[in-house]
Each structure stands twice: as C-alpha cells, then as structure tokens.
Amino acid sequence: MLESFTVIRGRAVPLRGEDIDTDRILPARFMKRLTFEGLGQYLFYDERFDEGGNPKPHPLNDPKYQGATILLVEAGFGSGSSREHAPQAIKRAGFRAILGESFAEIFFGNATAIGLPCASLAPGDLAALFQAVEENPSLEVEIDLVNKEVRFGDRVAPLSIREEAREALTEGLWDPIGELLEAGELLDQFDQRLPHPRRAG
C-alpha cells in the first residue's frame, strides 16, 4: 500500500530563483549510475559546492534550515531535462513536498509519480511565505492537500495543484502501475490494432 499525502507539516527552506532547471537541481555528471541510490548528496551540487568541493553560501547549506522538509521555490521550477534523477535527489535529500508558483510539466509528473507533491501558491501568498520563512526559519508550515490550503503563522493561503495529481496523492494512488496493469487484455487489443514499426528484409 502506498503512502497517502493529506497534510504535510514541517519547516521550509527558501530557494529563490525563477526557471531553475533540472541541470541545476542535479548536474548531468551525477546521472552516471545505475540506480537512484545516494542522489540526495548531489542535490544542487554546483550551487552548494565550489570546484574544490568546499561548501558555498546556499540555503541548503545554511544550518538554520537544516532538517527542513519542504522546499520553497519560485516560478518555472524543474524546466529542461526529463531526468527523474532531479525529483529523486530532492526526495532522497529528505524533502516531502515542494511549494512554488509553477512547475515544468515533466518535472511535475515525475515528482508526483514518486510521491513528492508539488503545490502552487498565488504569487502574493508565496512571497509572504518566503518572507515569513526567511524571518523565522523555525516556522511550521502545513500543506493540507485535502482542504487545498497552506497554513503558516496566522495565515491561510489557498493552494492549487492539478486535481488528478491531488487525488492520486491523497488517496495513495500516485504510482499508477497497478491500475495500468489492470487493463490486461485491452492492451493486446490496442497492440493488434495499432501499427508498429517493422524492418523490411
């Protein structure tokens, strides 16, 4: 049985910047591997470490945000490559959800399919949340996927997330493989009906 995501509580780490692409989230050279194991340590590697491997100033290196489980981002997060390695790295670094203004299509799908909810806030609410977290890193943030709201301090902000993704997450149906397999013989019918490439000779 898969985990259901209804209310996610935790502290957040604010990561500013628009159009952050998956090459920045997980540089390509760390994809040279046969599994997703251990990817968490390479999250935002080139922004967190210099060429000698020494830490650079970055919210993810900042002691005051250690242990945060919610990643706070801006607009267009996860653009670029389809690499699932990017959301895998975020999840394996200990994050349980991402809040932002908007997400790239493939990134959103990949994250949802591995049980990493990506929810959107209106720009004003998101700015208020960034400010609140930067002022008070120990602030508790609640993402309520059932009532579709984010609560922090004395503020309640409506969240948006594609409805089918929200349902999949709250009902523990975010990994579709079981349901896809249920199609059974229907799959053979489609295979027989639809042409497929064949090499001549």
Partner: protein, 470 residues
Amino acid sequence: MGRTLYDKVWEAHEVRKLRNGQSQLFIDLHLLHEVTSPQAFGMLKDLGLKVRFPHRTFATVDHIVPTHDRTEPFQDPLAQAMLEALRENTREHGIPFFDLGSGDQGIVHVIGPQLGLTQPGMTIACGDSHTSTHGAFGAVAFGIGTSQVRDVLATQTLAAKKLKVRRINVEGRLGPGVYAKDVILHIIRHLGVKGGLGYAYEYGGSTVEAMDMESRMTLCNMSIEGGARIGYVNPDETTFAYLEGRPYSPKGPEWEEAKRRWLSFRSDPDAPYDDVVTFRAEGIAPTVTWGITPGQAIPIDGRIPLLEELPEEERAVAEEALAYMGFKPGQPIQGVTVQVAFIGSCTNARLSDLREVARHLKGHRVKKGVRALVVPGSEWVAMKAEEEGIAEVFREAGFEWRMPGCSMCLAMNPDRLEGDELCASSSNRNYKGRMGSPRGRTVLMSPLMVAAAAIAGEIADAREVFGIGR
C-alpha cells in the same frame, strides 16, 4: 466541429479513463537509451514484470558515448557499466538494440526518424525531454521520467492528462542565412520559457510548410525549451517523401494505406485551438542567446537588454544571467570571444545541418585558439558525411571530426567545457553548468552561426562571415 491532430491521435490511443480522471494512453513506439532506463528495468525486476510489447521498443546508446575513442572498455568505468546494463537489459527482454558499430547507433532522436521508426499519428515516448523532436512527423511524442519508462515497459501505456493546444503560425519567407533554429529561438524569446506550460505546440503557416523535415525536427525539438511538452507539424507530402524507403517505413501496398491513414490525422481546417499566435518570417534574424535560459535570446545584430527594458518578472533571472555570463547590459553580442565551437546534439547534428555548414565553410579556417568540434548525430550521418566529402571540409577547416553521440550538449561523456570557457553551440540548452563545467558558458545558435563563430573567434553574423545574401 473539427479536431486537431493532437485530439485525433489522443482519441485513437486512449485505452480507458483512470479512476483519477487521467487517461491510460497506449504508446506506439518506446525509445530507450542508457541513462534513464537502467533504474526502470530494475523496478520492473522488483515487480516481477516483463516488457509487454518488445516489438514496440527500440534502444540505442548516446549520452555517455565517448566521441574520440570508443574502444571498450571505456576509460570511464561508469559509462561502460551503463552501456553494458543496456546491452544486458535489451538482450534479456528481446528488445532491438542499435549498438556501437551497428551502423544504426546515434542520438535517439536522430535515429528514430532516420530509420523510419518515427511515423505520423503515433504516440512516442522516451526518457528524454527532446522526444518532442518526433512531433515533426505529426506524431504525439513526449519525454518521460524513469518511473514512466517502467510503466511503458510493463504495459505499453502511460497515465496522462490531455494538454491544451496552441497553434503557432510562422508566415512568409526566411531570409538567407536564417534557419529553423533561429525560428524556434525567436518563438521562445517571444513566448517565454514558461509560455508553453500546459500546452502542446502545433506549428504551421507557410514558413513551416516550406521547411524540410530536418528543419521541422529542429523546431519541434526545442518545444520543450519553450515550456511545451510536445510540438508537432501536420504530416504532408514532405513528410511522406522523407519516410519513403526508410528501413522501418511501411512497404509495398502497406505504404499507400499508411499514407491515407497518416493524412487522416491532420488537424481539420476548422479545428479549435486554445490559443493562436502568428510570427512573420521576415522579422526573424539569426538569433543567439545571451543568458542562462533559451528564452534570453536576441538577434545577432542586437544588444543585450538593459534591465529596465525587461518586464519586471524577468529582471531577477536577467541579473543572474549577466553575472554568470560576464556580460554588461546594453553590450552588443557580436564580438564576444569564444573559446569553443560545438556543432552537434539532437537539435542540429543531422546530415542537412552538416551539408549546409560545409557548403559555406570551404576555404575558411577555424581561428587559432578556438577548439571546434563536429559531432554527427548518428553513425549513418557520419558515414554519409564522409562519403559526400563533408567530413573532409570540416577537417580541412580545422574542426575536430568526432564520432556520434550527445557529447558536450550535456557533457556526460569526456567532451566538456573547462573553467569559464564560452562555447558557441548548436545544442538546445544554455543552462548554468550544462556543458560540464560549473562555470562554463553556452551561447546557442544555428550550426552555420557556430561555424562563423569558430572562424571569427568571436560571436559573429554568419551572413557577413560567409558573404550570404548581402
């Protein structure tokens, strides 16, 4: 009411509705490569599942392949392990594999069309965002993550949600020295890198209709850089002429039947679109990027924008871009020194790209101090280029002629930028660190513009360097 190609292909492939309202979509063609598939095969094994329809699955190796010396074992044991994992997985599951030296190996988005695997009206998926390339044939083709690669291997289907469709018309004639690459950079510059979120892009209009297939592939390839998951062009006689006689194309009586079927997928004249945008071809100049997203682009004779000229929401990324690239607002892009020139990638490493550059390159020399590489998109492209004398033109001009692969587009092989080198590149992404150095800088442009930069040693207008149309 008419329907778009997207609607028709979707309806023909919708197996059923899922409980959460998504569709279960049948995938006609699944393409695999070595980077995003090993984990998927691992998941399959954990679930005790097999590849459901191996005859709809094809694999090649492209991302990690060295382009200088492909002797095995590779110097990089991780790269070798990825190649061997794919060999083993395809052997175990009976999947055709276009291995190194088979004559068919190459960048997955180059070989699909080249072999005739890519056909109109198909749904195509691959664990790579540039799968949008195959839309040039009137296929609905999109990039997927590894968990979805597992889903397609196990069921030949995906859980998917329908997109909106934006029709992008490009009308008129492109000027000499202006190519599909310039068109797509121009489109992304105007619609933005987030402009396509939630949309499929349908490209049309007289400019697109006049384009050859490989230009259409370039256009569709970069749909993803504009935020759209897919891009496509309606199939027509140009499409059929390209496909006829290819190894996997239908033959004999099946050919005529296939053409009729393919035509039936074309968008109806009265098909409704969620949005329509029109561009004029005459207004498009050779276009280059100046920043760290493909939308940060300007005409070659333009200047890097002043922050106050940009919409407020674009200024923060622009500032970050200026700092990273080391450029000043208001500075002309022409004349910026380049250290590296790269012609390659799934956007622009096809035979027509290399032919077009070679046609102008004869008699020119790469500027001393510039490292210039040509990486053909496939073994077939490389072979044809040798036969036609194109490879020799590049070599004589001082380019390194390499073996096929993705190469420094994402630098998972030994080809990469060093330090803060600036690279004139025919690839698709100018993200920070994209070409392998965390400080490396990429300026995107057409292959001919890359050649011009290599010769001039600086970012230059190919029309001036090669005396085109002026």
